[in-house]
Symmetry: C2
Subunit: 396 residues, 2 copies
């Protein structure tokens, strides 16, 4: 994989020399929008109408934060320095107000609909639509006794699901990050195309992927809408743990029975996986390691170690004590997976590397994979999903 990435970067460099400066609309634009535009070097041009504004800024979450320049026609424009391949969230700040770019599709991130631009990764086809048999993503609503509300989930069914009216499938529960929602893995992550392509290439078993809404609170409770671990705050930790507990009940008591009733699943622990990114990784570790009777494959993408905050792993007590007996754990858990991007904030890399090292030292079998040069962004998680999905449900 590393070798592949280096080759890609070389190719991108060549391209850039040829095509830099030739800008075209980004694939993440709405129908007909000429801006945002990108060139082969990964530079982005943004153009926003704000005739009476005093100051307009372009802020990428992971990338340039730059002032835009006012043009005589009332539009503000800017061309960025090159961005790395992947999907990059951004906002336009207009006189202090964070606004979306009307030219961009809207992606749910940061607890709001936000703009994003896709910089293609030259040579990568694994997360784009290809002429291979395609699965279908379904929207489902189900009524939860845990939250006292209707909940919405997306469910990917593999290409051969309908042609084989008696075949049953393993299930991957796949969770979004904090501030995102159940649509993230499809809209931003393109999980459906990743699975279609892996399955067509024989690299993954046909599987059902369930993407649920990752926020949960008790009926009529109005507490804070915690979206992820808040390090260092006792109140944050308490709210986080309460939310984790409610979501754990939601998944184990409502969602799994609903899915097993609604679809032709292989409804046993050997055929059930859970993975998630960032907050979803924290939730995955919390839920699966409290329910090894239900899960046998576990993936944490940039987020498994949230529980630990800044202290060392305690084998005896952390994660319900499951790591205390590595041999017993290896018999139960077929894949334990940790992923992180090398360009992520130290908060993530240090903790996840720390967890990896602690597990290694303790002799707990697991997969640890660093995504080269990618930040706490979807490119890391697309790569993680591709890698993880190709490893699970392989044990007979």
């Amino acid at each position: 994989m590393r070798r592949f990435i280096y080759a890609v970067l070389l190719f991108a460099g060549t391209c850039a020399a040829q095509d830099a400066g030739q800008f075209k609309p980004a694939e993440t634009n709405v129908w007909g929008a000429e801006y945002p535009r990108i060139d082969a070097a990964g530079r982005v041009q943004i153009r926003i109408k704000a005739p009476d504004a005093n100051k307009v800024k372009l802020n990428f979450w992971s990338g340039p934060k730059v002032d835009m320049e006012k043009q005589p026609d009332g539009f503000w424009t800017v061309t960025t320095t090159p961005l790395v391949p992947g999907l990059h969230y951004y906002v336009i700040n207009i006189d202090g107000a964070d606004a979306s770019d009307p030219g961009s599709n809207a992606y749910f991130g940061g607890t709001r609909y936000t703009s994003a631009v896709e910089i293609p990764e030259p040579g990568s086809t694994y997360y784009s639509i290809q002429d291979v048999p395609q699965g279908q993503v379904r929207e489902v609503w189900y009524n939860s006794k845990v939250t006292g509300s209707w909940r919405h989930a997306l469910v990917y069914l593999p290409p051969d699901y309908e042609a084989n009216a008696r075949k049953r499938y393993p299930v991957l529960y796949l969770q979004h990050g904090g501030g995102e929602d159940e649509t993230g893995w499809i809209r931003q992550g393109r999980a459906n195309f990743i699975l279609d392509n892996l399955i067509a290439a024989g690299q993954a078993r046909p599987m059902i992927v369930v993407m649920a809404y990752g926020y949960a609170r008790r009926p009529n409770s109005t507490g804070p809408t915690v979206t992820g671990p808040t390090p260092g705050s006792a109140q944050g930790a308490q709210a986080r743990n309460e939310m984790a507990k409610v979501f754990e009940e939601e998944v184990t008591q409502v969602l799994i029975p609903f899915v097993d009733k609604t679809y032709r699943t292989l409804a046993d622990r050997d055929n059930r996986a859970m993975a998630g990114l960032s907050m979803g990784g924290f939730q995955t570790f919390h839920i699966t390691l409290n329910h090894l009777d239900l899960f046998s494959h576990i993936g944490g993408f940039s987020g498994a170690a949230g529980l630990l905050e800044d202290r060392a792993l305690d084998l005896k007590t952390d994660f319900n004590g499951v790591f205390a007996d590595p041999a017993a754990f290896a018999r139960k858990v077929h894949v334990l997976y940790l992923g992180v991007g090398t360009a992520e904030n130290e908060r993530f890399t240090t903790r996840i590397r720390g967890l990896h090292n602690a597990l290694k030292e303790a002799g707990v079998e697991h997969v640890y994979w660093e995504s080269p040069n990618t930040d706490h962004e979807w490119q890391t998680w697309r790569r993680n999903l591709k890698d993880f999905a190709s490893r699970i449900f392989k044990k007979k």
Copy 2:
């Protein structure tokens, strides 16, 4: 139906007297957002952070256009006059820039993701989720030889689709309006809940509903992205007719065969309907009346008369001459439906009433229904869909 609506308005009046001034977050908000807020009178409170802006305006497409007031904390606020029930698009104009409200879900309308607020219609449950058997909405991608591109559609399958592995279903092709997209009938229109509720009540036959992307152009063409009839412009009419022709080929040569191959459809004209709103109504009339070999049920919601612009119907030549022989037309077309809201712009009401009167005078059997007090907005089209769906596929 009229009686029902009046009763509803009376009830709303009572409610308003009791609860006006008690504001709560709108159901169209993103998770945890306290604003927009609404009260029982239908008034809306908006709050936007824009500390350095000089002027901030709230503009409802069909509704108040008002200046917002700057507060000492850098937020701008406003409370509107009462809005009628339904989903109302709006934008926040910040120093000349049209921005979305981060507290609102994002709906594709006006060729961009825009904000909207739902004002409940007291007593109406037909377009909200109920504890009845539910269909599933599926996302499909299909490759079109007509446009040379992958195209995305949403497909509603009725509640009993999977339980009856051999049952075949009639199909309604349901199109969005200009500036909207294939997601509109689900996200804004709630077509899935409307169908679930009608089917549960025995008021509509279980049917498949296909919601396709309504824009189409030839491979590699870069013409204007026409989104609807442009009255009075020869160039606009030419572009519109070219787009209509490409979309006609797309629907008849690609989409219908794809749907009939992918789902258990009743693949004959007696079991195929098409309807659409505004631009989608224009497209529906254009496509179905050129293909009565394919369709037998036709619905135009606030948009059937686009072709005529401001002249009278010519029975002999307009709409492919199908109205020249009313008896022959009645044998072929089981339902011809025209709908419009009484509060719509005269451009719509005059034309559609004119078409209705011309058809009536000519003795062409059809249904004409005016939605009381609703504008060129989703509340009109939700009512139209409920009415239309309960009338189709009833002939043996």
